[in-house]
Amino acid sequence: MQVFNLSQPLNFMRLKWPAVMLSILLLIGSLASFFINGINWGLDFTGGTVIEAGFSQPADLAAVRQTLNSAGYDDAVVQLFGTSRDVMIRIPLRAEITQAVVGDTVLQALNAQQAEPVTMRRIEFVGPSVGEELKQDGGLAMLTALVGILLYVALRFEWRLSVGAVVALAHDVILTLGLFSVLQLEFDLTVLAAILALIGYSINDTIVVFDRIRETFRKLRDVSTNEVINSAITSTLNRTVITSLTTVLVLIVLFYLGGALIHGFATALLFGIAVGTYSSIYVASAIAEILGISREDMLPPAPVAEDGEGAVL
């Protein structure tokens, strides 16, 4: 069985400019959404208190809001979390009372109203300075990862490919952030982890294509750059699709079975991998081509392991 059985390379680069235009439009859209909608930062970044309470019966949200109102938490956001018996209450940072006791007092207030006591499933309190630091550290982590990859690819391959790879990664990250901004999905710590994992996954894909571009350049003489890139993408297409497929498969499982806490994580990766697969074909290679990559750049050849067993660990 084979997904694509192609004897001739597909002309991917024919769609280079439309693809670049599409990407630019999507990037502009994402950035516009940042400025207009902003990002729905989760508790980890904003600070505040989140209480997850388990009810023995399907919860009456209006009653819970009423209870919280009379307890003085009129700014609380109350919503169901995962199931109808699971209620999540978000309370923003406040100055006048001791932050750390908010969770306990809310639970007490809820218990006073309920015939059967609610179970405390989760209380999280994050102070304001912690969230600010996390934003900085998260941004720093992304930049560090990108610069690290830029250097590694430049060293192992060539600077044009390196630029292509990093632009493709930034593209994936910005579009995923854009999705979270447009849909106003909550951006918490696990989503940050997902985006960093996405950088790892997406670069994986890109490197496989680059590796083949380099190899094809060395193998075929008197062929245009366009054809080399087309040939490289075509011959790795099966692998690209299958790996994306298995990864998407497990992510769908994670999305549906992993529970509400993992939802954001799975969403970010599902979307990111779709975008990442597209960008390693179009963005990364197209940019390398636009920057004028040629056969000469791939020479002299690095010593390729020719001695049989030597390459196997």
């Binding site: 069985m1 600070g47 179970t119 982590a141 990862a145 690290g148 690819v153 960093l196 499982v253 660990l313």
Partner: protein
């Protein structure tokens, strides 16, 4: 011959897999809810204690099995968490204050596995339930305190050297101690004298203003910060042990943070009270000469300070501190000869010498204990946290009946409960710098259990989906890849169980699921390459050989970059995200190993070196 491997390679790889399997085994055994009972203050748990407890449990209808641990601790196992909680209440009431009863999850690892050092993976708080605190240490307060100490030392030194000064005051706002003199000659003399005592001190002389300015060097500030942090950590460790938690974690994070993790603790209010109580103690002489009513009006006599006692009585105390709480090495509540509650205090050697000198000429005078607490006030600091407010009160003043030494007692305490409370705080030690809770995460036990089940289900179904897909798509080679995938899972779990620092969290489980999806990538690369080589007309053996060879460079390049990302993630992440980074990194390494080395061996064993016309790939 092409595609044949020597026997030792098979033995080595299967040996590694077996070892991983062995160390992964303890994870299959369930963990029992248990109680960890230990004695405090030199008490012992005897066989009688054990027997009596068992009887109480049986009477309440709770089934239990217990074993005595080597270090005098008793571990009692139960069938359910309900039994465990009920038993804890029974044990606490039956045993009283001299024992600490901690909730625990005891691994039911068989003895033969424990003997080779195998143990189950450590579960993060999001999987086992419990509370996580992030504490910020107020370094500024520690620096201010040190400035005051320096000012006091300078005063004493100059007095000893008979050098006159106008004033010596600590200025926390500028981080300096300002020493003012009457003549220029005194300025130079003082600087020389103080420097002679400690060459490391840095002074800034301003002869025209007749002053000397002292400030800490970068290194000294770092030392003060480290000391404050270390002292806080050891004190918190002590306090956490008092709460009775099995396997607590108290760890430094960054330059001024402390992470406290208390698995199994649900009552965060109590934990917070104990962690948050940042108390320090000072002993000062009561100034009986000064005019209290004038002091209340704002005219405090020089050398004295106005304080209030717990019931609001004003009291003039000397500025000079006889002794600070950080010299206290022990404090216990007890009773005097007339059965009145008191607190017996034990000092370290330096503290003993200091107090002895300070109380030599003070017999018959009154000594007050000033209790200082830092509580978050209403004012908000620039960083968004509430400014800690210093609250000082005189908790006790007693007449010095004799020259005090390393052991003395504070009497005049109203109730034995109060004495106990004071003693507990003092025993835990005086914090040099106050701490504030800046992050708290509590996970209930039901959610933890649920998270484990969700994670396991996701891993199971994700794995099944990938296994079926690979078998359908690559046929026999797909089955080989599936063997590698299962081997990979065993390796991940085995390695995670072996590494002491690795903790499994919910994002970590998501990381394992993700690894399962991505781990086949290496095999996909290899198999696709073999297909290509076959399509180009290479012989079967050539195709296998070249397929593995050529795919390897790609696999290495693409995985090194992913590993780079995992390292960055580990560097900046905390808690659950770190757990994710660890599983991701381990997963990458094991998947390269199983996909490249493992499947090669299997493929070679089945198809290698044979005359074949086609391959089931």
């Amino acid at each position: 011959m092409l595609n044949k491997n020597p026997l030792w390679r098979y033995i080595l790889v299967s040996g590694m897999l077996l070892l991983a399997l062995l160390y992964a085994l303890p994870n299959l055994y369930p963990q029992d809810p248990a109680l960890n009972i230990s004695a405090t203050r030199g008490g012992v748990i005897t066989a009688q204690t054990q027997l009596a407890l068992e009887q109480h449990f049986t009477a309440a209808g709770i089934a239990s099995t217990s074993d005595m641990l080597s270090n005098g601790q008793l571990l009692v196992r139960f069938n359910s968490t309900e039994d465990q909680l009920q038993a804890r209440d029974i044990a606490t009431t039956q045993l009283g204050d001299d024992y600490i009863t901690a909730l625990n999850l005891a691994a039911a690892t068989p003895a033969w596995l424990t003997a080779i050092g195998a143990s189950p993976m450590k579960l993060g708080l999001d999987l086992r339930g419990g509370v996580h605190f992030l504490l910020a240490v107020d370094i500024k307060a520690a620096l201010d305190k040190n400035l005051n100490d320096m000012a006091q030392t300078f005063r004493a030194n100059l007095r000893e050297d008979n050098i006159r000064y106008r004033s010596i005051e600590a200025e926390p706002a500028t981080g300096q101690v300002l020493l003012q003199f009457r003549t220029a000659e005194e300025v130079t003399k003082a600087e020389a004298a103080l420097k002679q005592r400690d060459r490391a001190l840095i002074f800034n002389a301003n002869v025209e203003a007749l002053s000397l300015q002292f400030s800490f060097s970068e290194q000294q500030i770092k030392d003060i910060r480290d000391y404050a942090l270390e002292q806080n950590i050891s004190i918190i460790r002590n306090r956490v042990n008092d709460i009775g938690v099995a396997e607590p974690l108290v760890q430094r994070q960054g330059s001024d943070r402390i992470v406290v993790q208390l698995p199994g603790v649900q009552d965060t209010a109590q934990a917070k009270e104990i962690l948050g109580a940042t108390a320090s103690l000072e002993f000062r002489l009561v100034d009986t000469e000064g005019d209290i009513s004038a002091a209340i009006d704002g005219r405090t006599p020089p050398g004295s300070e106005l304080f209030y006692s717990r019931d609001g009585q004003p009291l003039l105390l000397e500025k000079r501190i006889m002794l600070t709480g950080d010299h206290i090495s022990g404090a216990m509540s007890g009773y005097d000869d007339y059965s009145r509650p008191q607190v017996n205090i034990k000092l370290d050697t330096k503290g003993g010498v200091m107090l002895s000198a300070a109380s030599k000429d003070a017999v018959g005078r009154r000594m007050a204990s000033v209790f200082t607490e830092y509580k978050p006030g209403t004012e908000i600091a620039a960083d968004g946290n509430r400014v800690l407010v210093k609250q000082q009160e005189v908790i006790n003043d007693a007449t010095i009946t004799t020259r005090l030494g390393r052991d003395f007692a504070i009497t005049g305490i109203n109730t034995s409960a109060e004495a106990q409370n004071l003693a507990t705080l003092l025993r835990a030690g005086a914090l040099i710098a106050p701490v504030q809770i800046i992050e708290e995460r509590t996970i209930g036990p039901s959610l933890g259990q649920e998270n484990i089940e969700l994670g396991l289900t996701a891993i199971g179904w994700g794995m099944a989906a990938v296994l079926v897909f690979m078998a359908l798509y690559y046929k026999a080679f797909g089955l080989v890849a599936n063997v590698a995938l299962l081997g990979n899972l065993v390796l991940i779990v085995g390695v995670m169980s072996l590494i002491p620092g690795a903790t499994l969290t919910l994002p970590g489980m998501a990381g394992i699921v993700l690894t399962v999806g991505m781990a086949v990538d290496a095999n996909v690369l290899i198999f696709e390459r073999i297909r290509e080589e076959l399509a180009e007309g290479k012989s079967v053996q050539q195709a296998i050989h070249l397929g593995y060879d050529r795919a390897f460079a790609t696999i290495a390049d693409s995985n090194i970059t992913t590993l780079l990302v995992a390292l960055v993630l580990f560097g900046v992440g905390t808690g659950p995200v770190k757990g994710f980074a660890v599983t991701l990194a381990i997963g990458i390494l094991t998947s390269i190993f199983t996909a490249v080395v493992g499947t090669r061996l299997v493929v070679n064993a089945i198809w290698g070196g044979r005359r074949l016309q086609s391959l089931p790939v």
